[in-house]
């Protein structure tokens, strides 16, 4: 059973005094996230990312289509029993201490008191908030608030965690700490749904991504699949004779920005239309006594890929 599934989901907001204006936030979106995945939802502002997350959490009602969490309809409160959520710019009552906040939201998540006590202490320590349990929330920095938000989401030991811009406004050290926690959670087998603008963060932690543009799902797959440049490979090998480099059949060029791992090696880029061509190139290299250290498909950064998808060059 997938952790979450969305089928033909659409959402149209009605606005204006007479509610006659409409905004299509989501248009026939279907996707599935398997248990244990770290799923990144990407898209420019207004693409419909937040609407999708809110429908999954029962905060927004879909116009059509279905959304399920662990097989239950997304609007069903029981479906939220196994999830945790860290909203972007969440606000806790400022008069509570961190400990009181976690108790309050733990009660809302139906965590029994004895269990709550143990988990709160463990989470405060894990999120580097030990010693701040009795401090008022209003005295917390942005990074501390984000970590406290993460703590309230983890209190019920959820199987699926939604993180909406979890590192927004957090300094690099805090970002690193949050990223490490996400990676730890992945090791624990949690499913994580990450909604973020920080593509470098997404690239570092996500196993699967989807890109929304103007309410439609335009790409979905693993980071490796999506960022791989079709039929172009990076080759690290001993220096290739000039004759082979000049030969158009080898489709071999020095890598434009390649830095070989050691001075005895050089880096090249291979353009091969198919597997046969690629193997023929490799055979010719071996025939010329070139020793191959590695050959890997060329990848572009997620950021470059994202820009190509959401704002393709005309």
């Amino acid at each position: 059973m997938p952790a979450l599934s969305v089928s033909s989901l659409s959402k149209t907001y009605r606005t204006g005094l007479l509610r006659r204006s409409t905004v299509q936030a989501l248009d026939d979106v279907s996707l599935t996230v398997e248990e244990g995945a770290i799923f990144g939802l990407l898209g420019p502002n207004g693409a419909g990312k937040t609407t999708l997350v809110k429908i999954l959490l029962g905060l927004v009602h879909p116009t059509s289509g279905t959304a399920h969490l662990f097989g239950r309809p997304a609007g069903d409160p029981a479906a939220r029993q196994r999830i945790g959520f860290v909203p972007e710019n969440h606000r806790f009552p400022g008069f509570f201490t961190a400990m009181q906040t976690l108790h309050a939201y733990g009660r809302l998540a139906d965590v029994p008191r004895a269990e709550r006590m143990d988990r709160i202490l463990a989470l405060l320590e894990r999120l580097d908030l030990e010693g701040r349990g009795d401090s008022k929330v209003k005295t917390f920095s942005k990074g501390m608030l984000q970590r406290l938000g993460l703590a309230q989401a983890l209190l019920s030991d959820p199987d699926l965690l939604f993180l909406d811009e979890p590192t927004g406004g957090v300094d690099p050290v805090g970002r690193r700490a949050i990223r490490d926690i996400v990676l730890e959670l992945r090791e624990e087998g949690k499913t994580i749904f990450l909604n973020s603008h920080l593509l470098s963060e997404v690239e570092k932690v996500c196993t699967q991504i989807a890109i929304l543009r103007e309410g439609s799902l335009v790409r979905q797959g693993s980071v490796e699949e999506l960022t791989a440049v079709e039929r172009v490979y990076d080759l690290v090998a001993t220096p290739v004779p000039d004759a082979l480099l000049d030969d158009p059949d080898t489709a071999l060029q020095p890598a434009p920005d390649g830095a070989p791992p050691n001075p005895d090696l050089a880096q090249y880029r291979v353009h091969a239309d198919d597997r046969t061509t690629l193997n023929a190139v490799l055979d010719r290299l071996r025939g010329a006594d070139v020793e191959i250290e590695s050959i890997t498909p060329l990848r572009q950064s997620l950021e470059d890929y994202f820009i190509d998808v959401v704002d393709p060059p005309s």
């Binding site: 809110k54 029962g58 905060l59 999830i83 909203p87 972007e88 606000r91 009660r107 809302l108």
Partner: protein
């Protein structure tokens, strides 16, 4: 049950964190202290022999005016309890509305509502928990003031006026009715100011409606049924004052209609609020 209790506690704490509620608590404490220490009654064989208020001494005969009979213990108790009930009803409810008006719009604000509704709590339960939290916070404050005055006066004089406790329920009940208007505006517009304007406006309108018998004959054939329609539909806040004072005086209430029709308005407003809250996108 645990999530509901959690929400009640959050709302309760949030309301008590407001300075105005703290102020009401302090004022209530001062009233209780005044009734305890500043009002001294000399009771001889079950009758009032003298009163000392903030050190000023008077006999019952001194306080009798014209043809009115001399002051009795019973009348002193009724006077004190009536003043407290009247103040709790008018000043208390107005200030309590002011203190609580922003709670519901706050609850629905971005960053708060997501934290709440992402928990395994239905929207109906979330709304119910919020309402219960506000009611219980106001009930505790009212019980502290009115219950405190009742116990102190009863212990001091031996005159127990149980109907006064009913007026306590009326005060909390009418707060609940007026808070329904605040919530209705809150779910519709998320505006604290509008909620206050409408609830205070309803109180103002109730002053006009309280004079229904005098005003109605002056109206035309269209105006009269409209006026009576409003009388039956809107909360009769001003008329309920009469019920509160009758109870504080220890008398039986001749007509509960203004209170029950107000409760009906409150029930309808809460029902509409619940319907909209369940259908809203956040």
């Amino acid at each position: 049950m645990r999530p509901l209790l959690g929400l009640v506690l959050i709302t309760f704490r949030e309301l008590w964190a407001r300075k105005i509620v703290l102020g009401l608590f302090i004022i209530s404490s001062l009233v209780l202290l005044a009734v305890t220490f500043a009002l001294n009654l000399d009771v001889v064989e079950g009758s009032l022999a003298g009163i000392r208020l903030f050190g000023q001494e008077a006999t019952p005969e001194d306080l009798a005016e014209g043809d009115t009979p001399p002051l009795t213990l019973n009348r002193v108790v009724i006077a004190v309890e009536s003043v407290v009930a009247g103040a709790a009803y008018w000043i208390g409810i107005l200030l309590a509305l002011f203190a609580s008006a922003s709670l519901f719009p706050d609850l629905q604000s971005a960053g708060r509502v997501e934290l709440l509704l992402s928990k395994p709590v239905s929207r109906t339960k979330a709304l119910f928990g919020h309402v219960l939290g506000v009611w219980s916070a106001i009930a505790v404050l009212t019980l502290y003031l009115m219950g405190g005055v009742w116990i102190i006066m009863s212990l001091k004089t031996g005159v127990w006026n149980p109907r006064f406790l009913l007026s306590l329920l009326i005060v909390v009940g009418m707060f609940a009715v007026m808070y329904a208007a605040v919530m209705l505006m809150g779910v519709w517009t998320e505006s604290t100011a509008l909620g206050l304007i409408v609830s205070y406006g309803l109180i103002f309108v109730s002053m006009v409606l309280a004079a229904a018998n005098q005003i109605s004959p002056t109206l035309g054939p269209v105006g009269r049924p409209v006026f009576w329609g409003l009388y039956h539909m809107l909360p009769n806040f001003t008329e309920v004052t009469q019920i509160v004072s009758t109870l504080a005086e220890g008398n039986a209430v001749s007509s509960w209609y203004p209170f029950f029709s107000s409760l009906l308005f409150g029930g309808a407003a809460y029902a509409v609020t619940g319907y909209w809250f369940a259908r809203r996108d956040f």
